[in-house]
Structure formats: C-alpha cells, structure tokens
C-alpha cells in the first residue's frame, strides 16, 4: 500500500467554481434612476460618469471564487477620450463631406469607399473600447490587459464582413469566432494569455435555421422577441464557453429560453409607458381645451397648441418623464438582468491555473470609447 503512494500523483482537479453576481436590484435602480436624471439635466454629458458607475456596480458585485472584481475606470477618462476622438473625427467628417461632393459628380457608387472607411473606423473603435474596459478590470489585485493592433483587427473585420455579404450571412459564426480569437489571443490576465476555442460549426448548428425563420418572423412579428432572445442566449453561451485564460476554461449552461422573459418584460413596459404617455398627452390637451380656452377643432388647432405655453410645458415634462422611464427600464432589464442571468450560468474549470499569476500589462487610453461614442457603434 505504502509503495503505491510513492509515485507522485497529479493533484485531482479542483471542482468547478461558480461565478456569482450579488448586486441588489434596488441599489442598481437608484443608481440608474439618479443617473438618468443627471443625464437629462446635463443634456447627456453625464453619460460618461453614468456608464462608469454602472460598470463599477456590475464589476464589483461579480465574484469569481469568492473574490469580487473591480472596475478602475473613471468618467473623466471617458470624457477626455471622447474629446480626443472628436478632435480627430471632426476634420475627418469635413474631409469626408468635401470628398463625397467631389465623388458624387462622377455618379454611381463613388462615395461607397468612404462609407467603408467609416466602417473600418467603427471596428477600430470596438477593439480599442474593449481594450479600455479590459485594462480597467482588476481581480485579486491583478489587472487584465490587451495588446494587438486596433487597425489589424479592423482589417480582419472588414475582410470577414465582405465574406459575410458574399455568403448572405451564413459566414456569421466563422466571422464571430475568428474576430473573437484575435481579441482573446491578445487579452491577458497578468502573465496568463487568453484564447478563444469555441467552434464556429457548433454555433452554426444551433442558429442556421434562424436564417430561414427571420423572413417568416417579419410577417409574424410577435415571434421576433423569441427569435432574438433565443439567438442572444445561444450566442452568449457559445461565446462564454469558448473563453480561455491559460488553463482556465469557462463554461456556460445558459438555457436558450433564458432571456425570453426579460425581452417580454421590456416590451410590456414599453406598451404600458406609451399607453400612459398618450393618455397623459390627451388629458393635458383636453384640460387645456376646457380651461385654457384652446380650441382643438378647426384649422387653428396647431397654431393654438404652439402658442399655449403652459400646455407646451406640460407636454415637454411628460416627454422627459417617459424618456427617463424608458432609460431606466432598458438598463434594468437589458443590462443588469441580462448580466445577472448570464453570469449565473457560468462556471470556471481549472481555477488552479490562476493560483499565482504575476501582474503585467499597461493601461490603455479611452480613445476607443470616445470613437465608439462619436461613431455610434457598440461592441462588447
């Protein structure tokens, strides 16, 4: 017996470690409610601080192996990134305008290359924005970081986009996998290198039929939230299960139907909000007609509406209230709840590989986030 134990055995693999999210809904609600209000008061400029606060909340309540992550980015960095991006984009927009006027003269699709140029810029922005967020992510006193080139990524994204068009969208899983592989192979946690191992074929097998179902759903549009919810859930599961950091493997068990409820709740809220808003608008107009002497019939209605200042103020206040509510609803369900549900499905295998990682890597600037803001592109 004792002789057997003499041979060194590899240590048994540790059990899978869950990822937990403990953020309180009430706390998040207060954060986004206040944030939406401040965003309106500042005519949108608070967005940099709100985005930061939301990320801080989501990160710090996300714990892996019992230790919570931390987001170290700040709103001011996003603002500076935005200003720099604007300083670069404004001359480009101007040049774009002049060149497109010159190009239109020769008719046809002369200005198409310029649109392609903006697409490339958008892809660059997506890469650099991911890099900014990753370098602001800290777990156990060590940060994530990213190298690689935003332009090299943009080049790959463009070639894949061309392939996507040529195959009428069927190349989608291969494009996703290739681009994610580039992003992940240039991502690191300390001295641990990332990778992406999900098979595009695996995704294709699960979503190929959507390619046929979407035309049907455009007619039977109440099915669209199911289709979209299914697609997002499958995509999340596939993406998460493909993530690697050294020997650490992620696995997600997200059910394909896990997000249906959230999308329907958002739709329900929208219907309710619009119903309330229209009832309110109608009520205000009726009250104004009754007590303000504004006649709502006849040809002078529009002019009378425009000249009734209290009525206009009431309408604008209603509009502001519905915008606030919509922004709170969207962030609550589509950001926080999706985050919580997706994370609850994740577990980590091979956590022993991160037992002793050395810190490495530098911070990246928020320029990419600024471009993403200026060009209206979103990426994860």
């Amino acid at each position: 017996m004792n002789q057997m134990n003499f041979i060194p055995q590899p240590p048994p693999p540790l059990p899978a470690v869950p990822v937990t999210f403990d953020g309180e809904r009430g706390e998040f609600f207060r954060l986004i409610g206040r944030g939406a209000l401040l965003e309106l008061v500042t005519l949108g400029f608070y967005r940099f601080w709100l985005a930061t606060d939301i990320r801080r909340h989501l990160w710090v309540n996300t714990a892996v192996d019992g230790d919570a992550a931390e987001y170290t980015g700040r709103g001011k960095e996003l603002l500076i990134g935005f200003l720099f991006a604007m300083a670069i984009l404004v001359p480009i927009y101007l040049a774009y305008f002049i060149v497109s006027v010159e190009a239109e003269r020769f008719k046809g699709f002369a200005s198409v290359p310029l649109v392609i140029g903006f697409y490339a810029f958008g892809q660059f922005a997506i890469y650099r924005a991911r890099r900014y967020r990753l370098t602001r992510t800290v777990w156990r006193g060590v940060r994530f970081w990213m190298d690689g080139s935003g332009w090299a990524y943009a080049g790959r994204a463009m070639l894949w986009a061309l392939l996507l068009v040529l195959t009428l969208g069927l190349a989608f899983p291969w494009r996703e996998a290739a681009l994610e592989r580039y992003k992940m192979q240039h991502s690191h946690y300390g001295n641990l290198q990332g990778d992406f191992e999900a098979s595009p074929w695996e995704l294709f097998k699960q979503i190929w039929w959507l390619w046929l179902a979407i035309p049907v759903c455009l007619v039977l549009f109440p099915l669209l939230p199911f289709i979209y919810g299914y697609f997002k859930a499958v995509e999340w599961r596939w993406w998460l299960s493909g993530l690697r950091f050294g020997g650490v493997r992620l696995q997600s068990r997200l059910r394909p139907g896990a997000l249906y409820g959230l999308y329907w709740k958002v739709i329900g809220w929208f219907v309710l909000l619009w119903a309330v808003t229209f009832a309110y608008f109608g009520g205000v107009v009726v009250v104004a007609a009754k007590f303000g002497g504004v006649s709502m019939a006849g040809p002078k209605a529009a002019q009378a509406l425009a000249n009734n200042i209290p009525l206009l103020i009431m309408l604008v206040l209603g509009y502001i209230a519905v915008i606030l509510a919509i922004n709170v609803v969207m962030r609550m369900y589509l950001l926080r709840d999706v985050w919580a549900r997706v994370l609850a499905s994740v577990e980590l295998h091979g956590i022993e590989a991160v037992a002793n990682i050395s810190a490495k890597g530098d911070l990246a600037s928020a320029l990419g986030e600024g471009f993403a803001d200026g060009l209206d592109v979103a990426g994860f």
Binding site: D22, V41, L43, R47, I323, N327, N356
Partner: protein
C-alpha cells in the same frame, strides 16, 4: 518593491492599537494572503512571509461588495488591495484614515459636472445660434465657385431622378424666357454663367441650385397671370444665387446638426428632441434666407420700375393662407400672407417698360407645349 515603508523598528504598541484579520493582495501577484492587521501609528499588516505598513493619510477606499471594506494605498503598488470583512474593525480603520474618501465622487463633484455640462451645452447653443450662422456667412465666399458647381451637378443628378429630364424648349417660349432672365440678371448684378430652365411638371414651384442654375416648374407658370408675377419669383431665385444660399445652408445645417448631435448622447428616446431642435434651427435659418431673397427681389423689381405685389399674389394663389395650417416655428419660408403683405407695402406703380410683350408672354406660357 512597490510596498510602503518596510521598517521593522517602528512598532509602538500604543494602548489603543487594535488588530484583526484581513485579506491582502500585494498587486504584484494574484496570491490571496490572509494577514494580521494592526492599527498602530500606521496600518501594519503581517503574514507568514510579508510585512508591510501603510500610512493612514495614503489609504483610499476602493469599490467593494457590500459588507466588505476594500482599501488601497497611494504609496504602495497601485493595485495592492486590503479587504476587511469585519465591520467593527473596518469602522475603526476608517476612523483613522481622514482622507479615505477623497477619490469619491462627492456631491460637490457632481455639482461641478452639472455646472460644466451646462456650460458646455450653453456654449453649443451659442455656437448653433450665433457662431455657426456667422461662420456660414464668412466661409461661403471662400468656397471656390468650381466646388459649388460640383455640388450643383450632384443635385442635378438627384433632380433628374425625381422629375425626369423634361426640360421645356418651345422656340418662342425659350426666347421669351431668356429675355426675361436676362432682363433680371443685369440689375441683379450676376454674370452670364447663370443658367435657367423650365421643367415640365404640374408642381407650382421654382428653385435655385448651387453653382448658378435655377429652375422654373411649369406648374407655377400655369398659375401665373402676368409677366411681373413670374419675374418677381425669378428675381427671388436670383437672390438665392446671389447670396449663395444653398452653400450657406449646407455649411450652416451641417455645422449645427453636428453640434446638436453632440448633445443627449445615448439617451434612448432623445432622438425626437434632437430632431425637433435641428428642424427648428434649420427652418429659422431658411426663413431668414427666404426673407433676404424677398428683399433682393423687391430691390431688383424697383430697379426695373416694375410692381412687387404681383409675385406676392402669385405665391398666395399657390399656397393659400398658411397661418392656420402649420406651426410657423417649423416653416422653412415666412408665411405667404406675411410675404404678400410685405410685397404690397413695397409696391410701386410701374415706371419702367413691361418686361415681356403680350405675345412673348403667351409664348412663355406655352413653352412646354
């Protein structure tokens, strides 16, 4: 190393020194260390193989899940973290660090963000209302006419897509039209590069394109009763050409749309507010240009000794009374009744010769037949 003072000498065991357990990450590796923390005249933490002290004034709170105090130290490695889960002990540490919340976004800081944002928004509004119109006026003369013509050529391509290529060129009508345009062009101070055409479409309108071309639509011709009515409208379009209004509006609307787009950012649902502001701003600028083109037309008609009221009558015949139908703040033109009133006020009895003979007028009316 990145750690703070590592001196062993300073270990005064003052009576109020307290201690407790904490979790420590040194910021150099992700090793999770359980350490004993002693709060003496500095924060001292000790593990089996580590000894670190953090001065209280350098300690800052960082994000932590509820129920945990997580701090960093300015003079230590930037990502070194100490986590205390015992709330009583955490409170004791917080009491000793008087600058622990210095990095926090305080109410004052939020107020400053609001203040600066409002200042930025105000400056954008000032830019849109005053600087952009000024810049459009000053930049327009600097744009080479060749480039303006390119803009016009691009517009002609779109125009042909909308109206087809149905230019009218009845021989007598064409001669009358050329005579009328020539008669107006000289007092307007425009050179001979001005090109004009009649398009065959029932829409009653006329418009100028960048680079010196303008079009009269036969629908308007059909509604006109005499040459002075058409002459006034053409003089108005010449005013647009003289002021290079198309180019000015492209510059103005591009600039103001871009600036307004900087506001509101990603607020869902704010698109309506952005759209409304853009519409109001561009409509107001357009009304101003129309007003100036009317002034120019009045001036040209005065120089020719012809009455100004007829063009107002023609426009009124086409649109009817507008005030009841639309919001004046969104209108791209001044209300027709106001324009008519102005042209009547400026009206003078004819002192110059008629611009077209009765025969030429008949030929012009029939240019598209």
């Amino acid at each position: 190393m990145g750690d703070c003072d590592m001196d062993d000498t300073e270990q005064d065991q003052s009576p109020q020194a307290t201690g407790g357990q904490a979790i420590y990450f040194d910021g150099l590796s992700n090793r999770r260390q359980t350490v004993t923390v002693v709060l003496s005249n500095q924060l001292v933490l000790r593990s089996a193989d580590n000894f670190v002290s953090w001065p209280y004034p350098d300690i800052r709170r960082v994000d932590a899940p509820s129920g945990t105090l997580r701090v960093s130290c300015l003079s230590a490695s930037p990502l070194a973290r100490l986590e205390i889960r015992d709330s009583a002990f955490a409170a004791e540490l917080v009491a000793r660090c008087d600058r622990i919340d210095e990095n926090r976004l305080t109410h004052g800081a939020v107020a400053r963000i609001i203040g600066w944002s409002l200042a930025a928004a105000a400056s954008i509004i000032v830019m849109v209302l005053f600087v952009v119109p000024f810049a459009a006026d000053r930049l327009t003369p600097l744009v080479p006419p060749a480039m303006e013509r390119h803009l016009g050529e691009a517009a002609v391509v779109q125009l042909q897509a909308v109206f087809g290529n149905k230019t009218c060129d009845g021989a007598g009508g064409q001669a009358a039209f050329a005579k009328l345009v020539e008669a107006l062009r000289v007092p307007a101070g425009l050179d001979a590069s001005v090109g004009a055409q009649v398009l065959d479409t029932p829409i009653p309108n006329a418009f100028a394109l960048p680079g010196g071309r303008f079009f009269l639509l036969s629908g308007l011709l059909a509604k006109a009763n005499d040459p002075d009515e058409i002459a006034g409208v053409l003089a108005h379009e010449l005013g647009h050409l003289k002021h290079r209004d198309n180019l000015r509006q492209v510059i103005h609307n591009g600039g103001s749309s871009f600036l307004i787009g900087l506001l509101f950012g990603d607020i869902t649902g704010a698109g309506a507010a952005i759209f409304a502001s853009r519409t109001i701003v561009t409509a107001s600028y357009s009304r101003e240009a129309e007003h100036d083109a009317d002034s120019f037309a009045i001036e040209v008609m005065h120089k020719l000794g012809r009455p100004t009221a007829p063009m107002g009558e023609l426009m009124f015949r086409v649109t009817g009374k507008e005030g009841d139908k639309q919001l004046s703040i969104l209108a791209s033109h001044p209300l027709t009744e106001d324009r008519l009133e102005r042209m009547r006020a400026e009206d003078q009895p004819p002192s110059g010769p008629p611009l077209l003979t009765a025969e030429e007028w008949r030929a012009l009316k029939g240019i598209c037949k």
